[in-house]
């Protein structure tokens, strides 16, 4: 187990440096710069432009900027936002819990609906239920998040008035930030009704963000289950007279879960990408919206630092997923 863990951690080092190169290089490859982003239609001579770039520390040689960037990150300094002048790490930590909360409930939605749907589709293969699930999952996977979100807002918020339009909390409540997770903070606050409002505001964004992972999980679960249900040991278990629930839930599902967990782990990356659009549509104050705005504003340091922080989160989740394989199938721990 320890060598497995050390192997996985050692792999993170080259990945980390690769990510820093991409984060540093990507924003600089984009045309425009922070001075141009701020100046609008204002006329500016080349000399003035260079003077303002120098003030932002962007006039130094590229290799020197990268070296400063790397050494700072290794000391925990992810830079200072050019727009807000606040440490990038502070901005990230302020917004990250909102993305985690949304992603968590989106994943819950995807699992609670997707796993059973996939299992039942596999067990009742080629039935009307199976075909419906597969068709719906294809539609769910294909729908643009932006369009899907707007559609749900128009139906459930504007027409039916069942859900709020956007945001994380009604403007009527002012909840102090303790953990950053609004469901917890609203329970800790003395604002009566805040918890209900927070739950209410989570419904639509979780459904929108969770739709694509749901579709993928349903399909992958069905595929994995079909493969396992065809194995000899399943036939043996049935022949021994085990109940269907024991056969499916204990023997089949456990072996199918390895593939499914891989997919769930990969969905974290999808959730973070989807969060950009979902957070924009629902005015959800998370890191997705923040990073895209930083790109548009050419906030070099926010993008450099923010991308690395996001990559570190994704790498951590994938590491946890790798470890979970070992728990589900101990043979994997000893595989070289």
């Amino acid at each position: 187990m320890r060598s497995f863990l050390l192997n996985r951690i050692a792999l993170l080092v080259p990945i980390f440096f690769g990510v820093t190169l991409i984060a540093f290089g990507f924003i600089r490859v984009l045309p425009g710069d922070p001075v141009l982003a701020l100046s609008g239609e204002r006329t500016m001579t080349a000399e003035k432009h260079a003077e303002l770039l120098a003030k932002l520390g962007l006039d130094r040689p590229i290799w020197e900027q990268y070296f400063t960037y790397i050494t700072n990150i290794l000391q925990g300094d992810f830079g200072t936002s050019l727009l807000t002048n606040r440490p990038v790490l502070d901005e990230f930590l302020e917004l990250f819990p909102a993305t985690v909360e949304l992603g968590f409930f989106a994943m819950i939605f995807a699992l609670v609906v997707g796993l059973p749907a996939g299992i039942i589709a596999a067990v009742k293969r080629r039935s009307f239920f199976d075909q419906s699930i597969m068709s719906l999952s294809l539609v769910g996977y294909s729908m643009p998040i932006f369009w899907w979100g707007l559609l749900l807002i128009i139906l459930f918020s504007s027409i039916l008035h069942w859900t709020p339009v956007s945001g994380r909390l009604s403007f009527m409540f002012d909840v102090d930030t303790v953990t950053g997770f609004l469901l917890i903070d609203s329970l800790l606050s003395d604002e009566k009704g805040a918890f209900g409002s927070a739950v209410h505001h989570l419904i639509l964004p979780s459904i929108v963000l969770g739709t694509i992972p749901l579709a993928i999980i349903a399909r992958q679960t069905r595929s994995a289950m079909l493969e396992v249900l065809g194995e000899d040991y399943i036939r043996t278990a049935r022949a021994k007279g085990l109940s269907p629930i024991r056969v499916i839930g204990l023997h089949a599902l456990r072996n199918a879960m390895i593939t499914v967990i891989t997919v769930i782990g990969l969905q974290v990356g999808v959730l973070l990408a989807g969060a950009i659009l979902t957070e924009t549509i629902f005015s959800w104050p998370g890191i997705g919206k923040w990073i895209i705005f930083s790109v548009f504003s050419r906030d070099y340091f926010a993008v450099q630092g923010g991308l690395v922080l996001i990559a570190m989160c994704v790498m951590t989740v994938n590491l946890i997923v790798d470890l979970m394989y070992g728990l589900i199938n101990p043979r994997i721990l000893h595989t070289r």
Partner: protein, 532 residues
């Protein structure tokens, strides 16, 4: 049966959640503005976007002079009155007495607003050796863009309620600059206290002002909250609470407005305007924006250095068609470089008619045939041009009718502006939104000889420039008006631009809102707003 059961469960769950969402106590009179973005900070001198100023300069602060809401007329603010010396170099400001400062958990003021606050607010931006100059990044963009450092010679405190500002040269628009958001007045006492506590940046993150609303809190990308300032010098605002609900997507903001989750939204989608006009609960306010959209000819490149070519190409463009197709009724035709709402607008100027035959003849007279050129189009929608690409296509088609072949060129927005400044274009679409309501802010900035090396037209006309410089030197409004009117005649004659349109700005607001006025400079001012 199972579906019915699920539907009942879902309905009960939703009702329960909705019941739990109702607040316990009765709400204060709260106005909610669906702001389109998050502020970068709360010190307006450090930022440059409308979203920054809406969340700082307008609710929290005041300035020496102010713009009368809905107009660009400069009226007294923290200065009760001012006078200029005969040579136009020295301005003496008499400050308003009894103006109170806000207080917060860090600070309780021990005195009213006075001259020390003026000196702090300007010297911080101006003097590089000021202890606060480098705080919070120290980027005073607008102070630089309005050339304040070049303009100012000295700022002196004569007494607690008198300040004398001396300029290096007469500059009539100077007082208008003092009404701009970057010139907001901060508390020197608060700054001193925070410096002593080693927390200088708190001045910019937990702001203290004299404005109509006290800053409460900011949840990044979510809400900015303010409370009415009971001791505001103009009188306490009628609303108790002001909330900015940050809503980036305009379609979503429109849904929120309809649902009553906010009272006002800015910059609606043009596609939603018809629905807003018809909606029973919405008033669609509008006003011509203080802007102009234009196609500039690069006068440094042949054949655009020939005024006949510029006139001919202007006459070949069907302006009304552009207004119909691109602006869809949300624009008015432009003939001058300044909008009609601006003082000194010369309505006697006659625009070039749409006359392709005359255009062809004039091109022939100039000896130009088979002209191949380019039209640069912005990749982004701007307040003065909702679709530059489409506009360029229409112009391209119009020019093809007179035998001019034009290629449409576009770059990413920042790159576009950079290349235009370098003069890479033959003709380019761009525009301008005014900063301070003064004609100088349009004409001198965009068409003066000083800017000729970096503006779109790269045009320097000594007669035109001379008129603008003379208009800077005098503060006599009548004299300035005449000079600018003459300048507009020269502009039309020399045709460095094809002036396209002034766009209309729209603000949909819920019917229960009273007292809100659309401001030509785009600011959102809520101090006179009430909810009935």
């Amino acid at each position: 049966m199972k579906i019915k059961y699920c539907g009942v469960v879902a309905g009960v769950a939703t009702a329960a959640i909705m019941a739990l969402s109702i607040p316990g106590a009765a709400s204060a009179k709260t106005f909610v503005f669906c702001s389109e973005g998050s502020p970068g900070g709360f010190n307006p001198s450090l930022h440059s976007a409308g979203t920054d100023f809406d969340a700082s300069a307008q609710p929290i602060y005041n300035r020496l002079a102010e713009f009368k809401p809905g107009t660009t007329e400069v009226v007294p603010g923290l200065a009760e009155s001012w006078s200029a010396s005969d040579d136009g170099l020295t301005y003496t400001f008499k400050l308003r007495k009894g103006v109170k400062w806000h207080s917060n958990k860090n600070f309780t003021p021990t005195r009213d607003f006075n001259a020390d606050d003026i000196l702090y607010s300007f010297n911080r931006q101006w003097k590089e050796d000021h202890p606060y100059h480098g705080v919070s990044g120290g980027k005073y963009l607008y102070f630089g863009w309005m050339d304040m450092a070049a303009a100012l010679k000295s700022i002196e405190k004569v007494d607690d309620y008198t300040v004398k500002i001396t300029l290096n040269s007469p500059d009539a628009p100077f007082v208008s600059n003092l009404a701009m958001d970057f010139a907001s007045i901060l508390s020197a006492e608060y700054a001193d206290k925070m410096a002593a506590a080693g927390k200088m940046e708190t001045v910019d993150t937990d702001p203290i002002g004299t404005g109509p609303f006290v800053f409460d809190s900011y949840k990044k990308d979510a809400f900015v909250r303010f409370t009415a300032f009971d001791d505001y010098w103009e009188g306490r605002p009628k609303i108790d609470k002001l909330v900015y609900a940050i809503t980036v997507d305009k379609s979503v903001a429109w849904q929120k407005l309809q649902a009553g989750e906010c009272h006002l939204m800015p910059y609606p989608n043009p596609a939603d305007l018809k629905a807003m006009e018809k909606h029973a609960d919405i008033n669609l306010l509008s006003q011509e924006g203080l802007n102009v959209g234009y196609l500039g000819f690069n006068a440094e490149k042949a054949p655009f250095d020939d005024v006949r070519v510029r006139r001919a190409l202007s006459m070949a463009i069907n302006k009304q068609n552009i207004l119909d197709v691109v602006f869809k009724g949300a624009g008015s035709p432009a003939k001058n470089p300044i909008p009609p709402t601006m003082w000194s607008y010369n309505d006697d100027v006659v625009d070039y008619p749409y006359d392709p035959a005359a255009a062809k003849a004039l091109l022939a007279e100039a000896g130009v045939s088979g002209l191949k050129t380019n039209i640069w189009a912005m990749p982004v929608a701007r307040p003065y041009n909702p679709n530059a690409r489409r506009m360029a296509e229409l112009i391209q088609a119009d020019w093809a009718e007179i035998g001019v072949e034009a290629e449409i060129v576009s770059y990413e927005w920042g790159e576009y502006r950079k290349r235009i400044r370098a003069g890479e274009h033959d003709t380019a679409l761009l525009g301008w939104t005014g900063d301070n309501g003064d004609p100088d802010n349009f004409m001198f900035v965009l068409l003066g000889c000083e800017a000729a090396k970096s503006n779109v037209a790269r045009w320097c006309n000594t007669r035109f420039d001379g008129l603008l410089r003379a208009a800077k030197q005098t503060s006599d409004q009548g004299e300035r008006t005449q000079l600018y009117e003459d300048a507009q005649v020269v502009f039309k004659r020399e045709a460095p631009w094809f002036t396209v349109a002034h766009s209309v700005q729209f603000r949909p607001v819920r019917k229960e809102v009273v007292g809100f006025k659309v401001h030509p400079l785009g600011s959102h001012i809520f101090k006179y707003v009430d909810l009935k």
